[in-house]
């Protein structure tokens, strides 16, 4: 039996299609998870956008703290809560799919392939949540300050600061994807290490 040691990678397109189908099949849970990501990310994105607008309005002379540290802590806690939510959701997804994982392993999947599938699933949910949450938070902060503006000068400053803060949406998406990947790591690792015989014997 001759074999060359070369890693066979699950073609990324098909791995993504597989993961998307898996998410669609358990859509309700995926939506709940994504909503929790959206809320956490939107909160952070709104706080950061507001701080940029406040700095722009107070001008160079103001040394007032634009983003009080307690608010930042609240955002961090919100993100932790969403991380735990993702871990929970992915663990359920793994438990539900014991048999499927066992089957894929008997077909010759390596641990790496299973890891890949679950990380992609987590990453997709993170990306969707990040995009929606980032835009939502930024938009809410912008609208609130724009509505409060009394003069055209203030309103133009707010618009300028908000448009200048559009990069925050990008950061939110990156943060959200990283957070989701980190949270999916443990469940995905557990799935990849399952013994095929035990996984196949498992009845849901």
């Amino acid at each position: 039996m001759k074999r060359e040691k070369q890693a066979i990678i699950f073609p990324i397109g098909e791995a993504i299609a597989f993961s998307v189908e898996s998410i669609r099949r358990r859509l309700t849970r995926a939506v709940i998870t994504i909503v929790s990501i959206v809320l956490g990310i939107a909160f952070l994105s709104a706080l950061l956008t507001i701080s940029r607008i406040v700095i722009a309005l107070s001008g160079p002379i103001a040394s007032a703290e634009a983003l009080p540290s307690y608010q930042l802590w609240m955002a961090i806690i919100a993100l932790l809560v969403c991380g735990v939510g993702i871990v929970n959701s992915m663990l359920m997804s793994v438990t539900e799919r014991y048999k499927e994982i066992g089957t894929i392993k008997t077909l010759g999947a390596e641990d790496f392939h299973i890891l890949e599938l679950f990380l992609i699933e987590g990453g997709i949910m993170g990306a969707i949540g990040g995009v929606i949450g980032g835009i939502l938070g930024w938009g809410v902060a912008f609208v609130i300050y724009a509505l409060q503006s009394q003069s055209s000068l203030v309103s133009s400053l707010v618009t300028q600061a908000a448009l200048g803060s559009i990069d925050l949406i990008g950061y939110s998406v990156i943060l959200s994807v990283v957070l989701s990947l980190l949270s999916s790591m443990v469940p995905a690792y557990m799935a990849s290490k399952l013994n095929p015989v035990e996984a196949l014997r498992y009845e849901v």
Binding site: E21, T103, T106, L107, H113, L200
Partner: protein, 245 residues
């Protein structure tokens, strides 16, 4: 060039044993089974529930490690393989068929059949082409894009058979392949397995309760209490009245 080499015995076991420790009790699920299975044979492992059939089956499929003894597949001791090589073996040398079909629910029939080829590194075009041919061979050419939930039990088992054959394995292991099917559909599946066995020369090993399987088997291994009770050829079975379990 592993595929060109021909070994007389596809599977060989030596004093194979497996113990399960359940608290203070050690259960001897398998207790010293030594067999040789020839290339191209159609073999049935029969025995009552709890006799150790499935354990034996998992051992020769490289799914579980024995407590004692050895398993050789194409003269390679599978205990010596690392995780990567074991995955390689499962992908290319062995095809599995299960009682509960175990198709991936989110994938279509075509995708299910092409999945093992992904793990064997086959290119996309070839994968889909071969999967289509296999599905046509098992009589499902019209249902390529159906998901498992849209197929009957017999059809799902046909997809599973096509999937087991995807990488041209030398052995197909079928664990109670007719266990969840009605009499007629079960017979269809048995006939299909037998035809594939003759056509492709693939060794088929089934663990089963189904006495219909005897009619197509070259040899039957009777297992009881973890031990190989006797080995019979089809002729020997047919001259002796078969006891019902």
């Amino acid at each position: 060039m592993a595929s060109v080499l021909r070994y007389e015995y596809t599977v060989e076991t030596e004093d194979l044993a497996k113990n399960y420790v359940m608290g203070p009790i050690t259960v001897k699920a398998l207790d010293g089974v030594s067999v040789k299975i020839r290339r191209g044979e159609y073999l049935s492992i029969m025995g009552p529930s709890g006799s150790g059939k499935t354990t034996f089956f998992n051992m020769i499929g490289g799914l579980d490690r024995p407590t004692r003894g050895k398993v050789y597949i194409d003269e390679v001791d599978i205990a010596k393989l690392d995780a990567y090589e074991l995955a390689w073996l499962r992908a290319r040398k062995i095809g599995y068929i299960f009682q509960t079909f175990n198709l991936i629910p989110v994938l279509t029939a075509l995708e299910n059949v092409s999945l093992p080829m992904i793990f064997a590194g086959v290119g996309r075009e070839e994968r889909l082409e071969r999967a289509k041919q296999l599905l046509e061979r098992v009589g499902l050419g019209e249902r390529l894009d159906h998901k498992p939930a849209e197929l009957s039990g017999g059809q799902q088992q046909r997809v599973a058979i096509a999937r087991a054959l995807a990488n041209n394995p030398v052995i197909v292991l079928a664990d109670e392949p007719t266990g969840n099917l009605d009499l007629h559909t079960g017979l269809d599946i048995i006939t299909l397995l037998k035809n594939l066995n003759s056509e492709k020369g693939v060794t088929i090993i089934t663990a089963t309760h189904d006495l219909k399987m005897i009619d197509v088997s070259d040899r039957i291994f009777w297992i009881r209490d973890g031990k190989l009770e006797r080995i019979e050829t089809r002729k020997e079975v047919s001259v002796r009245p078969v006891e019902r379990e």
